[in-house]
């Protein structure tokens, strides 16, 4: 019995300093291998006197279980340590930059245009398109702006010939659509427009989105509803929106729409010229004359139209103070969006 206990003690002394799996294998062979000390003891069990045999056998089995369990634990431990060591040698500098494909950027004007389109499409508006080089008829006459009308001064026009112009607004598309289709109509027309003007706040080409809604019972109240909804989506709920009378030859009543200044929360600042308001859109009820020109009966139909400058909205959205930046196409500007 004592001999068995000293075997256990000797095993413990031997296994304690082991640090490698190879050393461990040696001890494993020495004790529990086919020719190991434990195996030898088991084989010799028959030579133990019969009265001592049960106790001896029980103790031997306990020691065997203990040794095997201890060997198992040690093996797991050593395997774990070796793995750790290997991983350490494979270590990389995880702070090095990743290899990536740099995406390009969408021009800020087109980003805002997309946003505007999405809002109106979600309200059920369709998108229409028309020529940028347009007949004077569609750009002016059909919109109740005859030749010699002072309102032509409001828009400095580029001429191609006497009766062909670079469209000064996207409204001519509305007329073209009205000529082709019958109400109800709910459309927006995004696109490039041209005016011969260039300074900090004007470029000879810019983008507009015009909208048109015509049905049998559309009122100024509906116009207010749609425009308010749009600005609440675009600038955030709770943005104050106000309508004040203005003049456009193709709408009546006409209105300019202001939103509460987003820079000073309406308190008054340099950008809103201390008024607390920013002019953002022109709109009104479609003029009966425009309906007549398009072949609609103004007694049967009513509707509204609106138009906004995309550059203006983009400048407000990103606090851009010079419109010319949009067309310089400086990558240091474009890559910010």
């Amino acid at each position: 019995m004592d001999e068995l206990l000293s075997l256990k003690t000797a095993f413990l002394e031997e296994i304690d300093p082991v640090t490698t799996l190879a050393e461990l294998q040696q001890i494993k062979n020495k004790y529990s291998g086919r020719k190991g000390l434990l195996t030898a003891r088991l084989k010799a069990l028959s030579s133990v006197p019969p009265d001592q045999r049960p106790l001896y056998g029980k103790t031997l089995n306990e020691i065997k279980d203990f040794i095997e369990e201890t060997l198992g634990h040690k093996e797991l431990l050593l395997k774990g340590r070796e793995k750790e060591k290997r991983l350490l040698t494979e270590k990389i500098d995880i702070t090095l930059p990743g290899r990536y494909t740099r995406f390009g950027r969408k021009h800020p004007i087109n980003q805002v245009l997309s946003e505007i389109k999405d809002i109106f499409v979600s309200m059920g508006f369709g998108i229409e398109d028309g020529p940028e080089i347009e007949l004077d008829y569609y750009n002016f006459e059909a919109l109740n702006i005859p030749k010699d009308h002072p309102a032509r001064d409001m828009q400095d026009t580029f001429y191609i010939s006497d009766d062909v112009v670079l469209r000064t607004h996207t409204s001519p598309v509305q007329v073209r659509v009205m000529e082709k289709r019958k109400p109800p109509l709910k459309i927006i027309v995004p696109g490039k427009v041209y005016r011969c003007d260039a300074d900090v706040s004007h470029t000879p080409m810019f983008h507009q989105v015009e909208g048109l809604m015509i049905d049998s019972d559309i009122s100024f109240g509906d116009l207010k509803g749609v425009i308010e909804l749009f600005f609440h989506s675009f600038f955030g709920k709770g943005t104050p929106v106000r309508f004040r009378p203005s003049y456009f030859p193709f709408t009546e009543p006409s209105a300019e729409v202001d939103i509460g200044c987003i820079f000073c929360a309406g308190k008054g600042c340099r950008i809103c010229k201390t008024t607390g308001w920013l002019e953002v859109l022109g709109c009104g009820m479609v003029h009966p004359r425009v309906f007549e020109m398009a072949g609609y009966d103004p007694e049967e139909h009513s509707g509204f139209a609106f138009g906004m400058g995309v550059e203006r909205l983009t400048m407000l959205k990103y606090s851009i103070d010079d419109i010319r930046l949009f067309y310089e196409n400086d990558l240091r500007f474009l890559e910010q969006f």
Binding site: K106, G126, P131, I160, P184, G221, P245, L331
Partner: protein
């Protein structure tokens, strides 16, 4: 229009602060664009829309202030009492269709000199310089105050003691007040004495008959000229004045005598003299238009529930006479509100004075539209996104082109891109053509960014070009164009790709994203591209566009100070591209049997295009070939001069069973022989 508050108070007793007045006017449609302190006063800068010429005066603004605050309007004193002597100047109107009323009067013995301080001060506040000439100052003063332009002649310079109103006719010139001799359009309406023109009606007076310090007798004119005629003349002469500005928008034909009298009284007050009897030629008296409006129409159009009485009361506030007729009401607009001539004009006034803010907000109840996002919008979005993900940043350029650009590209005379549209009145010569190609704009963008230190310049633009086809309107087509340049960019993970293949790769992602297939690349013949490094992109026998490196000639012209820069451009017909996008995409079954891969590397003549070898492999008769990929292209060490090595990986698969190794081996050996035969090459080992 500048409006001093102190002057305004002559006509309306408003006690509200200037800010409050400004706010009320703005909300009534007369936007206050600025407020300027001036001595102890405040001057309002009012933006008057073209439909409201009645507001181009202090009195007109006062009328709106009175309506906004519910205050009475005080009219100026314009009665001339006594029995003045008869005027010795006769007036004759020969073109009554252009001048329906002409009034005037002689004032004799006036002394011309400095105006009193208060007149000078008020003129100054309104931005008009006093002229050391009380007669001219007063015509300006009354123009600002009452909105009606007047003109004063030196009566002694009017030959024959008569005034005629008639058109210029051929070959007529006049020297205007500003000292310039002007040729007059035949249709221009003029004021004549017995022999010569003495003024361009409503635009500017003549120098000869102007009032100077030597003038003793004056003839003061107050007339009504047709807006369109004044506008045409002033435009043709390139001559704008405070007078023409008002005449072309419309003046008050009834009130012009008050203006004449107001000025007469002020002249006597400041310069003495004897007032003569008025001459008034008025061929056809003004009859107020009658405008009938249905009450219900007002409310349905505005979305309001205004009562009859409310509407009539609102309109009364701005001096509109109304008559109730059950379902309807009639409105008789005064002569200063000629902008009101149909029902909608009256409805607008109701809305304006009721205040837009008081109209309740409603969400329209209307049918859905059938348009929504159409296929074209979706395609455009896909194209933009694909380019962006391929690393290109979007630019937007003006649609203009420099005539020199066509020569920079060296386009031949018969090139379609020479069929350009010109702008008649460009801002500058460089912007005088409409673009027929986007390439010059992109080159400009590249040069701009390069000169600012950028070395990774990858840009694209999606925009229209304009081709003159001889039709009334030019053809507008969408182009998708881009430019590629990357040089000297230090990078930790090396991947040097020639610019041409960067661009071609970007296009590959575009075509994959849009599902456009069956495209081929053939050598391009663009004069501005490098002959050996450019390709036309074909769909069948139609040319979708081109991609290629800018040729040495054009690069030299750009003077870039770079060593052999590789600048690659492309331009596609975006309309054609969109037409190639399949409307519908269908699912193909995932392969059920495994595939086996084999590689083949062949050394062949350098001149053989890889696409041809690829086609040879693809076209080989065994339908076991599921996929062919070119994975290596090598020239240099171990490869003879004039040769190259191409390596392909071929994936074999059968759709209805598992291929065996030996089966694939046999097929592959046949294929290798086929390729060697076709290319005349040898295996690379």
């Amino acid at each position: 229009m500048r409006v001093p508050i102190e002057w305004l108070k002559d006509f309306v007793d408003v006690s509200a602060s200037p800010e409050e007045v400004a706010d009320r006017l703005t909300m009534a449609g007369l936007e206050i664009e600025g407020m300027e302190p001036f001595d102890n006063d405040v001057v309002l800068e009012v933006n008057v829309t073209p439909n409201r010429p009645d507001c181009l005066s202090i009195l007109g603004i006062a009328r709106e202030v009175a309506a906004a605050f519910g205050l009475p309007l005080k009219m100026p004193e314009t009665e001339i009492s006594g029995n003045p002597p008869v005027s010795d100047i006769r007036v004759e109107i020969l073109n009554p269709e252009l001048c329906n009323r002409y009034t005037g009067r002689t004032i004799t013995g006036v002394s011309v000199g400095d105006s009193p301080e208060w007149i000078k001060k008020r003129l100054e506040k309104c931005g008009i310089r006093a002229l050391n000439n009380n007669v001219v100052d007063i015509t300006n003063y009354v123009l600002l105050e009452l909105g009606h332009p007047l003109h004063a002649f030196d009566a002694d310079r009017l030959q024959g003691g008569m005034i005629q109103v008639r058109k210029a006719g051929p070959d007529r010139t006049i020297t205007t007040l500003d000292g310039l001799e002007r040729e007059l359009p035949e249709d221009a309406l003029l004021i004549w004495d017995e022999r010569n023109p003495v003024a361009v009606a409503g635009v500017m007076g003549g120098e000869d008959s102007s009032v100077t310090h030597e003038t003793a007798d004056i003839f003061l004119e107050s007339a009504y000229f047709e807006p369109a005629s004044v506008r045409r003349t002033s435009k043709e002469l390139g001559l704008r004045s405070e007078s023409s500005y008002r005449f072309e928008r419309g003046t008050d034909i009834e009130f012009l005598v008050n203006a004449l009298n107001r000025a007469t009284l002020l002249m006597r007050e400041t310069g003495g003299g004897t007032i003569h009897e008025i001459v008034d030629v008025y061929p056809e008296r003004y009859v107020p238009a009658k405008v009938s409006v249905r009450y219900s129409r007002v409310n349905t159009l505005l979305g309001t529930a205004l009562k009859k009485e409310e509407m009539l009361r609102i309109l009364g506030r701005i001096g509109l006479r109304t008559e109730d007729r059950e379902e309807l009401f009639d409105v008789y607009p005064p002569a200063y509100r000629r902008d009101i001539h149909q029902a909608i004009d009256v409805i607008e006034e109701v809305a304006r004075l009721h205040n837009f803010g008081n109209i309740p907000v409603r969400i329209p109840r209307t049918a859905l539209s059938d348009g929504i996002l159409n296929r074209r919008d979706i395609s455009v979005n896909t194209i933009r996104d694909a380019m962006r993900k391929a690393g290109l940043t979007e630019v937007i350029n003006y649609s203009f082109m420099n005539p020199a650009d066509l020569d920079l590209l060296g386009l031949p005379e018969d090139d379609v891109r020479r069929r350009r549209v010109s702008v008649r009145n460009p801002l500058k010569q460089e912007d005088s053509l409409m673009r027929t190609t986007l390439i010059p704009s992109l080159i400009n963008n590249f040069v701009y960014n390069l000169s600012r230190g950028m070395r990774d310049i990858r840009l694209f633009e999606l925009a229209r070009v304009f081709i003159d086809t001889g039709a009334h309107l030019p053809t507008e087509e969408m182009r998708l164009s881009g430019i590629f340049f990357r040089q000297d960019i230090p990078s930790i993970w090396k991947d040097a790709v020639p610019a041409f293949f960067m661009a071609k790769g970007a296009l590959k992602s575009l075509f994959e994203e849009t599902r456009v297939t069956e495209l081929s690349y053939i050598p391009a013949e663009e004069v501005f591209l490098h002959g050996g490094k450019s390709a036309d992109i074909m769909t069948g026998d139609k040319r979708l566009g081109f991609v290629g490196e800018l040729g040495p000639g054009i690069v030299e012209t750009l003077n870039l100070k770079l060593q052999k820069p590789e600048i690659v451009v492309f331009e596609l017909n975006a309309d054609m591209l969109m037409s190639l996008i399949p409307a519908r995409m269908t699912y193909t079954q995932i392969p059920r049997y495994p595939s086996i891969e084999r590689d083949i590397a062949v050394i062949m003549d350098d001149g053989i295009p890889s696409a041809r070898v690829m086609a040879d492999i693809r076209g080989y008769r065994y339908d076991f070939i599921a996929k062919v990929e070119l994975f290596d292209h090598y020239k240099g060490k171990n490869i003879p001069e004039g040769k190259k090595s191409l390596a392909f990986r071929i994936t074999y698969r059968c759709n209805d069973r598992t291929l065996t190794d030996s089966e694939v081996e046999t097929v592959h050996q046949h294929l290798v022989e086929h390729v060697l035969l076709k290319t005349g090459g040898e295996l690379r080992t």
